[in-house]
Symmetry: C2
Subunit: 393 residues, 2 copies
């Protein structure tokens, strides 16, 4: 008598969650230091000191009724102006408060934007590999998720993308730096995608949006460029979260940007407001809106991820693992040593290595290793990775 | 090309919002002290000191990664255990952490529970007058809202309720203390409702739930009793928010309680988890979950509302207004002085009195006066109320 679909969603936990829960159980059995849990994308570094300092300052200086009171539904206007100014400074744009809608994190941003866009029969395309909750959010909004292949370098396969676009395509979801692969989509790839979309917009006579999901925008290495997508393709809406850049995943704070250059921008923005209302998002946390605005130009200690990445990537390559070079985010994508990635992960568990098989990300044959863990965990795990590859030889 | 329904929801602001925006504009023209804005249910007293003290203590004692990190999707287990213990202490119940699901406020709690329950063709009944977003949330979940009449004393008309229940009824939404009327539903009314629902459950052979929306539970006067609904009717799910009791409306923190005694409780709880996931709620704010747990037994200064209520109610009655005696919440429901409440509100505006007509609450002929404003605003508004009633004589 309850919704069967919601019951299914709530009772089958994702393989990521299941792995994480197993890790907690296993840690209780043999000690946390002997379990190498690489399952979760939970930032491993504290928020920058500015975050807690901002909270203390706000508590000392802002009256309670204002600090903890409702903001307008799209967010406090001063907060939005500050975030727009930060974007303008970095990307040479000209956004204003009225182009931003503050959200309860990136999941809310995506859910709201999909609901705002989705009309009956609409399709949303995502290139594999992709964050599996995209399917959940798309279907909850009433849309259909269409998955296209990855190219061998794990950039989107642009020919496959072009072939997948049809009259019902409402948007393409892009996530760069990518979860799970760590790939950063190149300017060349994105320019090609933009060209394809412009052509197909003309062919079908209606806008086809890019939803750019960018929680890892600031987490890149070796000078990799994260191109500002709205400058390459006007019909882009950006979903952002401070979860990773400011290490605030539990506080759920992010935004939707609807650039004024996007097709039907004012209608889309209004629909975003309507969808936020329909889904029960009254406003994003009043305190954390202000925290985000005050710290928009900061990041947590990215050197931590840089060190972990070098340690893991270099050692796994040396051992003979076939790793995708991670230009961003904090995931290493590694080819499984047998065709069935889930079977490979079961074997890795025998060595106390908790990895996530790539199948749920829409692509078989890989595992995701979240290296946002303490550096010591990586160091201690290396003999286990040695033993795992040796067991296949 | 965007969702027409979401566009409509986002571009037509509610009459409450419209009144509030008018008030801000008018304040800029003639000075805030000359505008008597009774439109919004925004708590007028600070959060209890314990709230900000808890935040400071957490910042000083809890590592950032833990404090601001993801909790499990239903909420931190320690937080849920503490809130269950508070409920058990107050209501003599025996709930555990596993019966609670922390939410981003009451709107999220309602949206998630409705989505968890709603199957195709389902109806949800609400007695008038009711908070208008119930319609938005119910329709977004795919359900149909059925509104039943109020009795003359603004308790639910139980005969009308009984007549409205049919084979497609999934739940009845009850909100006591009530927004907008300030009525507290009596134990007698609720016992009658429970009896009706038990009979109709038998007749139709499936559970009919009560969704008890209780953000004003602690805000009652003259010893009015807010009966604990799950003790009167087993198939009750409770939606709660700390917005009003702790004056934290902007921080969006609340919970859903699925008592183990409710029909299909474990299935419903799982569906709640699924719906939270589908709507993009990853977890409620990690910091404010802990704040709620630490302050669950506190309230902000209810004497403030008590004083405001006495000042407004006694004076308006003395002047000749026909007021519903407000036993709870912070709203006074007053009969309009002409049949068209909206026309009455327009006339009130000529006296700088910003009231909300009751039509959007599903009942014509009344206005809602939110008296959670500074006491001085009420005092200064009294001559305007005098002039308004005089203009009708």
């Amino acid at each position: 008598m309850v919704s069967e679909k919601m019951f299914q969603l709530g009772s089958k936990s994702s393989v990521i969650r299941e792995t994480f829960e197993y890790g907690k159980k296993r840690a209780a059995e043999i000690g946390a230091e002997n379990v190498f849990d690489f399952s979760l994308g939970n930032p491993g570094v504290p928020a920058p000191a500015g975050v807690d300092d901002t909270i203390r300052r706000l508590l000392d200086t802002t009256p309670s009724i204002q600090l903890h009171g409702y903001t307008s539904a799209p967010g406090d206007a001063t907060v939005r102006a500050a975030i727009a100014a930060d974007l303008n400074r970095r990307f040479g744009t000209d956004y204003g408060a009225g182009d931003l809608y503050m959200t309860t994190g990136a999941a809310a941003a995506l859910s709201i934007t999909l609901r705002a866009l989705c009309c009956e029969g609409d399709e949303f395309i995502v290139p594999a590999p992709f964050f599996p909750e995209y399917r959940v959010f798309t279907e909850a909004a009433g849309g259909r998720l269409v998955v296209t292949d990855a190219a061998p370098d794990l950039q989107p396969d642009t020919a496959a993308l072009a072939a997948a676009i049809g009259p019902h395509t409402k948007a393409v979801i892009l996530n760069s730096p990518n979860n799970p692969s760590g790939a950063v989509f190149t300017r060349k790839t994105l320019t090609t995608v933009a060209g394809i979309l412009r052509d197909t917009e003309k062919r079908y006579g209606h806008p086809i949006y890019i939803l750019s999901d960018e929680p890892y925008r600031e987490i890149v290495y070796d000078g990799a460029e994260v191109a500002w997508l709205p400058s390459l393709y006007a019909d882009t809406a950006v979903c952002y979260s401070y979860s990773k850049s400011l290490s605030l995943p539990g506080e759920r704070i992010g935004y939707i940007l609807v650039p004024p250059q996007a097709a039907d921008a004012r209608r889309l923005y209004a629909a975003v407001c309507g969808a936020g209302r329909a889904l029960g998002y009254v406003c994003a946390s009043s305190l954390f809106q202000r925290v985000a605005a005050a710290n928009a130009s900061l990041t947590s200690d990215l050197d931590f991820y840089r060190r972990n990445r070098a340690l893991l990537y270099e050692n796994l390559c040396r051992m003979g693992y076939d790793c995708v070079r991670p230009d961003g985010a904090f995931y290493l994508f590694v080819r499984a040593l047998e065709p069935d990635a889930a079977a490979f992960c079961r074997r890795a568990r025998e060595h106390e290595l908790l990895l996530v098989p790539s199948d749920d990300f829409g692509l078989g044959g890989y595992v995701r290793i979240a290296y946002c863990v303490p550096t010591e965990t990586i160091r201690r795990s290396l003999p286990a990775f040695e033993a795992l590859i040796a067991s296949y030889q």
